[in-house]
């Protein structure tokens, strides 16, 4: 029996060996780090996935119904991520481990784990924010009908996200990309008894699938041109500025991949799913739809940054113009929509879209560090705001700000942490958002000066965006925490399991920005820059504050806060406060979200689902199948026709024209007597004919 298994074992062993060979790395990676910590970093990915399965199958039997497994696994990621984070900050880590899982043609398919600055930052974010959100969710989801299932899906998400950010190649990235998509689908549709939630989940999945199709195409173009799925191979070509297939298709590959990023990072006009995704439970909105999952697009642009930065001018540099325009439009247009929302989660959702626009615009401006820095800080303060909103919703049992008001005194912890989050978001010194947003604006301005003409326009949009952000946040704070309470439930401060994570996140919302203060401490830049030699590639990183931009933006933000307070804060208790500044034309436009949803529904979804699909089915049943059945019917018809010819025409001729023809008809009919003997006779006639033929020829 040992012999039996040998060749199968060979297969497995061969895989393992190839894996270890591959793990020794590729040419472009400088200074591979080795050691226990990085070699076992795959645990970061695997532990949450395993936890997800364990929770799904055994969660209900555990004392805390699976929460302990979920929290344990994410805490593991958090701790491991933090250790790596500090290690990276002090020593710098570059490691890539791969396991070959198949060869197809000349392409190798590998699973792997990347441990470099960019990935470590994401591990840290997912782990730390995830840990706090999971802790929060324990209280928030208490008593939920599918408590265990929720944590299973949530762990699946964490696993998927880690698969995504640890990916050393495009295939694994796509795997993670869609895994987070499907867990997002599961969690948005968590309360699937209500079709509204199911439809929101479907919408999220479908919009993402559209962009995923583009990502597929982009990844395929890139992989086929380079001959490998590996990011290293792609970046190797880019860094060396080799002209070849990749440079030939660079624009299309870059554009397609960017469209993929647009879907996941909810960029205009593919942003429509994210506000609807707020149908999911609030912890989901905080972790997935604000802090981590939606930033995957930015992450992807960061991962392929040299390709887009395009120093050699051979690659996707042209796409960057599109990227910056999309980012600029997104940050501006969706920010405006946030002003008219009543649902507090939707305000935050549109705010998230708008902030993602900043990050994308930064990537488009060629500011790698700035974009990712904003990703980093935003994760903390937006998660904080969402959890704060969740705390409010938990208290008043409504998502609508028109049911809140005056909660300042009843929920002090929520109030103060929310204020911290708001200040971080709008970018007030010294909160986190101040540094990252400023860096983005400075970078955009730099790009404008550096020949990217459209960036100047985007800078204006960015500044207006900062104003808009401050305005809607002032409105949200005023409507929820000030004035009179307008709801019916009895609000009270949330339990400790929900309050502590708020405090924890508030801490990061204040301090996260301090890791990258121009002129003071710019560690963050170095942490991210360890993998690809960006500094040599012209990545713009501000050495000091861009004072004009800083001053203008701060002034705008403060003005907006004041205006917002003046408009909404003064008599926030009136029911109609939220409609205080109805501007004709613009207001309906915003309330209807620029009619983009309607356009998609009536322009694409309904026609395809309705008339188009029905037409195809009709064609199938009537034309394609009809031809077949028609042939069948035709054969029957011929048979019937012969019969009627026989009985009518032939007999008629018999009567009319005489015996000769009639005899023929009779003989013809006699040939169908049903007598076996006659058939035998006929067959022998055939035999004779054949024999004669054989003899003659």
């Amino acid at each position: 029996m040992i012999q039996l298994a040998t060749s199968f074992q060979q297969l497995i062993l061969a895989t393992a060996e190839e894996g270890s060979n591959a793990a020794e790395g590729h040419g472009t990676v400088p200074g591979i780090t080795d050691g226990f910590l990085v070699e076992w970093a795959w645990l970061i990915v695997v532990v949450p996935l395993v936890a997800a399965f364990l929770i799904a199958f055994f969660g209900k039997k555990l004392p805390l119904q699976g929460w302990e497994l979920a929290f344990g696994s994410i805490a593991f990621v958090g701790v491991y991520g933090t250790v790596l984070f500090f290690l990276n900050a002090t020593e710098g880590i570059v490691y890539e481990g791969t396991i070959n899982v198949a060869d197809i043609g000349s392409f190798a398919i590998e699973w792997g784990w990347m441990v470099d600055g960019l990935s470590i930052m994401m591990y840290f974010l997912v782990g730390v924010v995830g840990m706090l959100v999971f802790m929060y969710a324990k209280g928030y989801m208490h008593g939920d009908i599918r408590y265990t299932w929720f944590f299973a899906s949530f762990s699946l998400f964490a696993g998927g996200m880690l698969v995504l950010v640890s990916a050393p190649n495009l295939i694994q990235l796509i795997v993670g990309w869609e895994l987070v998509g499907v867990s997002s689908y599961l969690l948005i549709g968590h309360y699937w008894e209500d079709f509204d939630n199911v439809d929101a989940a479907n919408k999220a999945f479908m919009v993402n699938k559209v962009s995923d199709a583009a990502l597929f195409i982009g990844a395929i173009i890139m992989a086929v041109s380079v001959g490998s799925f590996s990011f290293d191979a792609v970046l190797d070509v880019v860094v060396h500025g080799e002209s070849g297939p990749l440079s030939q298709y660079a624009f299309w590959a870059g554009l397609a991949i960017f469209i993929g990023a647009m879907g996941k990072s909810a960029q205009f006009p593919l942003h429509v799913w994210l506000p609807d995704a707020m149908a999911g439970p609030t912890p989901v909105s905080a972790l997935m739809h604000a802090a981590t999952m939606v930033t995957a697009g930015v992450y992807l642009l960061g991962r392929l940054f040299p390709f887009y930065l395009d120093v050699s001018g051979l690659f996707a540099g042209d796409v960057r113009t599109i990227i910056i325009i999309v980012g600029g439009l997104t940050l501006f247009l969706t920010g405006l929509i946030a002003i008219v929302q009543d649902d507090i989660k939707k305000v935050l959702a549109y705010s998230t879209v708008s902030q993602l626009g900043y990050m994308i615009a930064a990537m488009g401006a060629g500011a790698y560090t700035a974009g990712l820095f904003h990703l980093f800080t935003h994760a903390f303060f937006k998660a904080l705001l969402f959890l704060g909103a969740g705390s409010l919703i938990h208290a008043v049992h409504s998502n609508n700000m028109s049911d809140m008001g005056g909660l300042r005194k009843k929920m002090p912890i929520t109030f103060w942490t929310f204020i911290i989050g708001t200040l971080a978001l709008v970018g007030i010194f010294p909160f986190a958002g101040f540094f990252s947003k400023d860096e983005i604006l400075a970078s955009v301005k730099y790009a404008g000066g550096d020949g990217q003409g459209v960036a100047n326009f985007i800078l204006v949009l960015g500044l207006i965006g900062a104003f808009v952000t401050a305005f809607y946040m002032a409105r949200a704070v005023a409507l929820t925490f000030f004035g009179e309470y307008k709801g019916t439930a009895h609000p009270h401060e949330s339990p400790k399991s929900m309050a502590y994570p708020l405090i924890g996140l508030a801490f990061f919302a204040i301090t996260a920005g301090w890791v990258n203060i121009p002129g003071v401490y710019t560690g963050f830049t170095d942490w991210l820059a360890t993998r690809v030699p960006l500094s040599g590639m012209g990545d713009h990183h501000a050495e000091s504050f861009d004072w004009p931009v800083l001053i203008i933006s701060t002034l705008l933000v403060v003005t907006a806060l004041v205006v917002g307070w003046r408009v909404y804060g003064k008599d926030a208790d009136t029911q109609m406060a939220r409609d205080r500044i109805r501007i004709p034309v613009l207001w309906p436009l915003l309330e209807n979200k620029y009619y983009i949803d309607d356009l998609y529904m009536s322009g694409i979804v309904r026609p395809i689902m309705g008339p188009f699909a029905r037409a195809i089915l009709w064609i199938d049943m009537h034309v394609v199948d009809g031809i077949v059945n028609g042939v069948g019917l035709g054969a029957l018809g011929v048979a019937k026709g012969v019969q009627s010819f026989d009985s009518n025409v032939v007999d008629g001729l018999y009567n009319a024209t005489g015996a000769g023809t009639g005899a023929a008809g009779t003989i013809l009919r006699k040939s169908f007597t049903g007598r076996v003997q006659q058939y035998a006779a006929f067959s022998f006639v055939g035999v004779i004919v054949i024999v004669v033929l054989f003899i003659i020829f």
Binding site: L11, W177, L179, V198, I616, D625
Partner: protein, 530 residues
């Protein structure tokens, strides 16, 4: 193990089920459990042998034919037909898949008998089908191939005709009203038979023409491939032969517009019939393309590639759109097969190693996933007595486990990465970006790639549409207060291996690629010069 290597083992895998069918038929009808156990044991032994085959297979020489009978085993000397069977990397996964599905089908039918109740005959048919399916995948002689190819026809015909849906089907255009099972079984039979008649003509033409090059007439696929690669068949002759083969295989696949038998056959067939049909029978056609049409007529395959690719992408879009208009769950899944097989054919049409590898893993994945979908749809129809999606709904409330499995299967079917279905779709698209160089059809195939990518979106669309209507929401009022048994034991036993297989292949695609890759590269090199 000498006996196993020299062809006896493979012969056992092929013919043991047929023997099992005979034994099953010999057992009195009343002794039902004995019948079931007999069938199960025969199928399990076959699966065991197939597993042994997979273990003993020399993966480092996947391109060579292994475990074969000797080529000089004459069978019908008069026409130089040989009994020659063997496996290589391409057929190995298919052999394992078909033996595997047979076992699962028998397990599932343990307590799910379609009416009229006749386990004996049904199981005998399943076992005969197993012989036909594995036989087709291992045959290396065209006559033998044809024999096995046709062998699956009759059991399936009877299966649909006897145990099929007795509802009335109104056929538009010709205004027939006819019992579903009769219509479907007849259509299945006529379509397939008509296709294979052309295929047989093609085989015969090859047989007679082979004498020009070889000096004697041959049905051997290996010999024909050798002379085919050397350019023995060209011109109008090759065109007509390829056309014949194309018709035979394309009907079985089925490719648009020869697909219309499929929705009817799938919908009307009893659950296990649909499963076998979807999981294995459709692959006979695609396998035929890979094993026979491409290697023997490589030059003609290049001429036809754009046409096959075009029909494939039409099938992808068309099948998906037809799904969106369905209200019948089984019909929806049936049309989804048209789309999925479109991806498989797109892969084949590129004539590249990546594309054909994609096609094979697509075949395996489709077998597992669509098999699972049909199992679940059948079980739901069994419980609800309807397949109408407007009446279903809230299955997650009534039967959470069933709903979860349906969700899993739907996700796998729409090509979720890290599940088996992804590889076939993605790699087919990848191959379409870079088809065989000598085709000079990059632009066209890249258009196909984009259309195919849109097809993946539509696929997601109809799968979510199905999940929304079947799984989610509150259950329809007519079901409230009724007890529904969630997934029972035989269902678990039959479905869990499919779920595990889907995940395993998704995470570790080497299970399939490890066998196929070398063989496919060899095939492409020989036929198209790399």
């Amino acid at each position: 193990m000498e006996w196993f290597e020299n062809g006896l083992g493979l012969s056992l895998i092929v013919f043991l089920p047929a023997v099992g069918a005979g034994v099953t038929l010999a057992i009195p009808r009343a002794r039902e459990s004995m019948i079931k156990w007999t069938a199960l044991i025969f199928s399990l032994v076959t699966l065991g042998l197939a597993t042994l085959l997979a273990i003993r297979f020399d993966y480092s020489a996947a391109d060579s034919h292994q475990f074969g009978t000797k080529i000089d085993t004459p069978w019908i000397e008069a026409i130089n037909a040989h009994f020659h069977i063997a496996v290589d990397g391409i057929s190995l996964p298919m052999v394992v898949l078909s033996t595997f599905i047979t076992v699962l089908v028998i397990i599932y039918s343990w307590n799910h008998w379609p009416e009229p109740h006749n386990p004996k005959l049904l199981l005998a048919f399943v076992l005969i089908l197993a012989t036909g399916m594995t036989g087709t995948f291992v045959a290396l002689d065209l006559v033998l191939f044809f024999l096995f190819f046709e062998l699956v026809l009759l059991p399936m015909y009877f299966m649909i005709g006897m145990w099929g849906d007795r509802g009335i089907r109104e056929v538009p255009v010709v205004n027939w009203k006819i019992e579903m099972r009769l219509y479907a079984s007849l259509k299945f039979f006529v379509f397939t038979l008509a296709g294979s008649a052309f295929m047989l003509l093609g085989f015969l033409a090859l047989y007679f023409r082979s004498a020009d090059t070889l000096g004697y007439r041959s049905f051997s696929m290996i010999e024909l491939s050798d002379i085919g690669a050397a350019g023995a068949f060209t011109g109008t002759f090759a065109f007509l032969v390829f056309f014949g083969l194309f018709l035979g295989f394309a009907v079985k696949v089925p490719m648009w517009p020869l697909h219309t038998w499929l929705p009817d056959a799938h919908t009307a067939a009893p659950t296990i019939g649909s499963v076998i049909l979807a999981a294995v029978l459709l692959k006979l056609g695609t396998y035929g393309f890979i094993r026979i049409a491409l290697p023997i007529l490589p030059a003609e395959a290049k001429n036809w590639a754009w046409f096959i690719g075009l029909l494939a992408v039409i099938g992808i879009i068309y099948g998906s759109l037809a799904c969106l208009a369905q209200t019948d769950v089984k019909r929806l899944i049936a049309y989804s097969s048209v789309g999925h097989m479109g991806f498989v054919m797109l892969g084949i049409a590129t004539l590249t190693d990546v594309g054909i590898n994609a096609a094979i893993i697509g075949m395996v994945a489709h077998g597992l996933i669509t098999g699972l979908l049909f199992f679940i749809a059948g079980s739901m129809a069994h419980r609800f007595h309807t397949r109408d999606m407007n009446r279903l709904g809230g299955v997650m409330v009534l039967m959470p486990k069933m709903g979860l499995l349906l969700g899993f299967a739907a996700m796998a079917s729409l090509g979720l990465p890290a599940l088996a279905g992804f590889w076939g779709e993605f790699m087919a698209l990848m191959a379409a970006f870079n088809p065989l160089d000598s085709l000079n059809a990059d632009g066209l195939f890249r258009t196909f790639m984009v259309v195919g990518a849109i097809g993946t979106v539509l696929t997601a669309g109809y799968m979510l549409y199905m999940l929304r209507n079947v799984n989610f929401g509150e259950p329809n009022e007519e079901w409230i207060g009724k007890e529904f048994e969630d997934v029972d034991r035989s269902e678990w036993l039959a479905w869990a291996p499919l779920v595990i297989g889907t995940i395993a292949i998704g995470i570790f695609p080497k299970i399939v690629f490890g066998a196929t890759n070398d063989a496919v590269i060899g095939l492409v090199e020989r036929a198209f010069g790399g």
